[in-house]
Amino acid sequence: MLERVQTERTQSERTMIEIRDVTRSYGSFKALDNASLAIREGEFFSLLGPSGCGKTTLLRMIAGFDNPTSGSILVGGQPMDGIPPNRRPTNMVFQSYAIFPHLNVEQNVAYGLKRLKLAAGEEKRRVEEALAQVSLTGLGKRRATELSGGQRQRVALARALVMRPKVLLLDEPLSALDKKLREQMQVELRRLQQAVGITFVLVTHDQYEALAMSDRIAVMFGGRIAQVASPKEIYQRPVNRQVADFLGGMNFVKAEIVEENGASLVLDTLGFGRVKTDKPKAFVRNGGKATLGIRPERLRVLWDNATAKFEVAGKVVERHYFGEITHLIVEIPGLEKPLSVTETNDFGADDIPVGTSIRLGYDPEALVAMAD
C-alpha cells in the first residue's frame, strides 16, 4: 500500500460529511453554535481550536457518541440522526487510544471484524494487512500492556482502519506522545491517509500539527467555526485577529480604511504608510478602522546597503536566541507596539547588538488586512 504514497491523491469533489446548522447545548451553554461544514471524500480535514472550542464535541457527534440539539449530520449522504455509533460508517482513534487491556494486539485489531463473521483466513489476512499498514508486523501476539505509547497508537489506528470505514475520526491522537515521536507520526499519518484514501477528520489544538497534515482546516473558537481553508490560506490569510493569533506569531498594526472596493482595500497605517491589500473573503467592515497584520518571518533584516522596494526602519530593543533562528523585537517610530521579526541565523542575526538601528524589508503580499 505504501508505494502509492508518492502520488498525491486527487480528492473528489464529493461531500463525505455534511454538518448542517448543528448546535449542541448543555443547558444555556452552547458547546457548538450553529456550525455548518462540508468535508470532502478522501480529504484530510482538521478541526483546530483551543480547548473548549467545540471541536471534540463535533467529532463525537460525527461518531455518534453525542447528538446535536438541533441540526443534522450526514455521512456519505445518509442522515445520521438517531443512528448509534455501532451502525455508523465511521471509526475513531481515541485520545487515550482505548486499547483493550485484556486482549493482545491481534485480538484488539480483530475486535470489530469478529462481528462480520468473515472466513477465518480472510480475517487473519485483513488483520495482517492492517498491522503492516501501521508497521506493526510481527507484534500481533504482544499484550496491550507491553506496548509503548507510539505502538499503542498504531494499534488504535490499525483497529479502526481494518474496519475499512468511510471516515476515520482522530481525537487528538498525538497529544500523548513526546515531541520527536509526534513529528514522526504526523508524517506517517499523512502518508497513511494518502495510501488508504479514506477521509480523515482530525481534532487538534496544535496548529503545527494541523498545518503539517491537513488538506483543509476548520479553525474554531467558542463553539463557532471561524474559518475553513487550506493550511496555507489559513496561515497567510486569516479572517480575523483571533485566527491569526492562534496560528502563530503575528504583528498587528492599527489601520484606517481609506478605500474599499470589491477585491481590495486601501489602508493607511503608521509605520507601513499607505497599503493596498487583497480584501479577505469574509471581511465585514467595522467602522473606519481595520487591522493590518504581518508574520514575523515575513520581515527581513536588510544588511548594509541592501535595499528592498518596501522597507521600515527601526531599532532593535530585544534579541532572543532559539538555535536555528533569532527573534528580534524592533521598535518602529510611530508604531505603538514594536514588531517581532524572526530571522534565520545564517547571516548573523544572532549577533545584532541590542540598540542597533536596522531596516526591515517586506513583500506587500505578506500584509494581511483583518476586520477590527
Binding site: 457518541f65 455501532n86 475513531m92 475486535y111 474496519m163 506522545l177
Partner: protein
C-alpha cells in the same frame, strides 16, 4: 527485620514489633495449642499430635455445620456480589444527586454494632412471619457482606476508562456485546474477589447467624456450642485453625484479584512513548 531496622530508629522498630505481636499473638496460640496432646491449653506443651485434626471428620454434627456454612456462604456471596455489582456500577459510572448519600448508606452496616443489626433483623424476620432457618441467615449475611463487596467492586470499577466501551461500540459491537466482550472480562477479577471476600465473611460470622438461624448450626455456632465442654476444646482449636487458614488463603487470593482488576481498568493511554 533487617530491612525494618535499617529505616527505623531503635525505639520505633521495637514499637512496630510489639504492635505486630499484639495483633497476631492470639492467632498464633490457636494452631500451637491445636497440636498439643493435653486437652488444657497450657505451656509447656505436653507433646505434639495431629490427633485432634483426625477426629474432626468423625463428628457428624461438625460435618452438618460445615455443609450449612458452605451453603450459606455461597448463597450470601452470590447474592451480595450481584447486588454489589449493580450498586458499584451505578456509583462509579454515573453522577446523580444523592450518589454520595446512597454510597454512605450502603457502607453503613460496616460500622453498626453487629448485635444490634442481628436483633433488628430478627425483629424484621418475625414481623414478616419468616420462620428462622438458613435462609434467614443468608439474608442477614447479605446485609453485612454488601459493604465489603462494594469496597472491592468500586475499586475494581473505578477508573474504568469509558472510552473502552465507546471503542467497542465504535467498532460495531452492540451494548450487550460490549458488556460481554469488554466490561465483563475486565471486571471479572473484581467480581471473583468480591465473591471470595463475602464467602469468607459469611463463613466466619457468628452473631447474626446465632440470632437468625433455627435449629441448623453454622460452623461458628457449632464452635460456640462445643465451648461448653472443656474436653472438646482441642477439637475446637483444630477447627479454628483450619477456618483461620481457609480465611487467610481466600482473602489473599481475593486481594490479588482485586489489585489485578484495579490495574486492568486503568487504561494508561500512551503516556510512555
Amino acid at each position: 527485620m533487617t530491612a525494618i531496622r535499617r529505616f527505623l530508629p531503635g525505639w520505633l522498630s521495637s514499637y512496630a514489633t510489639l504492635y505486630i505481636l499484639f495483633l497476631y499473638l492470639p492467632v498464633i496460640f490457636l494452631p500451637i495449642f491445636s497440636i498439643n496432646t493435653a486437652a488444657t491449653p497450657k505451656f509447656p506443651l505436653s507433646g505434639v499430635t495431629l490427633h485432634w485434626y483426625e477426629d474432626l471428620p468423625k463428628t457428624p454434627a461438625l460435618i452438618d455445620a460445615t455443609w450449612n456454612s458452605l451453603l450459606v456462604g455461597i448463597s450470601a456471596a452470590i447474592l451480595s456480589t450481584v447486588l454489589g455489582i449493580l450498586a458499584a456500577r451505578s456509583i462509579t459510572r454515573y453522577r446523580y444527586p444523592g450518589r454520595r448519600a446512597i454510597n454512605g448508606l450502603i457502607m453503613a452496616p460496616l460500622v453498626l454494632p453487629e448485635v444490634i443489626v442481628a436483633i433488628s433483623m430478627l425483629l424484621v424476620m418475625l414481623q414478616l412471619g419468616l420462620s428462622l432457618s438458613l435462609f434467614t441467615v443468608v439474608l442477614g449475611h447479605v446485609l453485612v457482606c454488601i459493604p465489603y463487596s462494594m469496597t472491592v467492586l468500586t475499586s475494581g470499577f473505578e477508573g474504568f476508562d469509558r472510552s473502552l466501551e465507546e471503542a467497542s461500540a465504535d467498532l460495531g459491537e452492540s451494548a450487550f456485546g460490549t458488556f460481554r466482550r469488554v466490561t465483563l472480562p475486565m471486571v471479572a477479577p473484581a467480581i471473583i474477589s468480591s465473591l471470595l471476600v463475602c464467602f469468607t465473611i459469611s463463613l466466619d460470622e457468628f452473631i447474626i447467624a446465632f440470632f437468625l438461624t433455627g435449629t441448623e448450626a453454622t460452623l461458628p455456632i457449632y464452635i460456640w456450642g462445643q465451648l461448653r465442654f472443656a474436653a472438646k476444646l482441642p477439637g475446637v482449636l483444630a477447627l479454628g485453625t483450619l477456618l483461620l487458614l481457609a480465611s487467610f488463603v481466600l482473602m489473599t487470593v481475593a486481594e490479588i484479584l482485586r489489585r489485578r482488576a484495579a490495574r486492568r481498568t486503568q487504561n494508561e493511554g500512551g503516556l510512555y512513548a
